[in-house]
Symmetry: C2
Subunit: 110 residues, 2 copies
Amino acid sequence: MDKKLVQEINHLHAEICGGLSDPKRITILYALAEGPKNVMEIGDVLELPQPTVSRHLKILRERGMVVPERRGANIIYALSDKRIIRALDLLREVLADHLSQRSALAEAIA
Amino acid sequence: MDKKLVQEINHLHAEICGGLSDPKRITILYALAEGPKNVMEIGDVLELPQPTVSRHLKILRERGMVVPERRGANIIYALSDKRIIRALDLLREVLADHLSQRSALAEAIA
DNA sequence: TCTTTATATACGGAAATATGAATATATCCA
DNA sequence: TGGATATATTCATATTTCCGTATATAAAGA
């Protein structure tokens, strides 16, 4: 494939991964995996001020990870694709393995 | 679960995701999926100066995504877990769907 | 229309991250 | 030991990301 094109794709790929690289956004995504929620409801879950929530939602929206739907005065956000959660779960498994490996090492030393 | 603990976990989860949020690191991970490589070989693939490669490898290493093994003067890096590639592939699929949706929209407008 | 409610954006500063260039460390071999 | 090769780290700087506050937009209801 054309080198420029590959770079462009990898850039977008990195960008979507960047959507996951914040604890609050991860919490938002898992919350939406339970079902669609409006901005206030998400704010309640995260215990965060509304503008902060909106900004994180914008980041996720731009990357196509959540989808907004206006319902009256509210905007209801939904997870766009279950595969996002599957990817998150896989990475969490990798994290768990890494941590238990390290703690096993720590015990072996002690 | 304890709230502090959940936050700590989400922080680590975000950190491992952050390991994926750079085009060069994605290229490195896919390159290592083909098989272990030393730093020079990775540098050849990326066409990047060696210190830059080492710094990216450090980030991936700290997050437990790649594993170094010294062999003589070389250090050979290997992917620590195939699930990392599966997660990357899932997210690339989500990206592809998002892009084709948008291009379908673009055509519908034109 | 005016007010209230829900959501989004703009701005300024703080903190994290990335990068090139230079330098340090570690290993091998003569 | 000294030189060559492979890898890692440091430093200064540039860029990005994040947050709180303030403000703007959009819809609902009186």
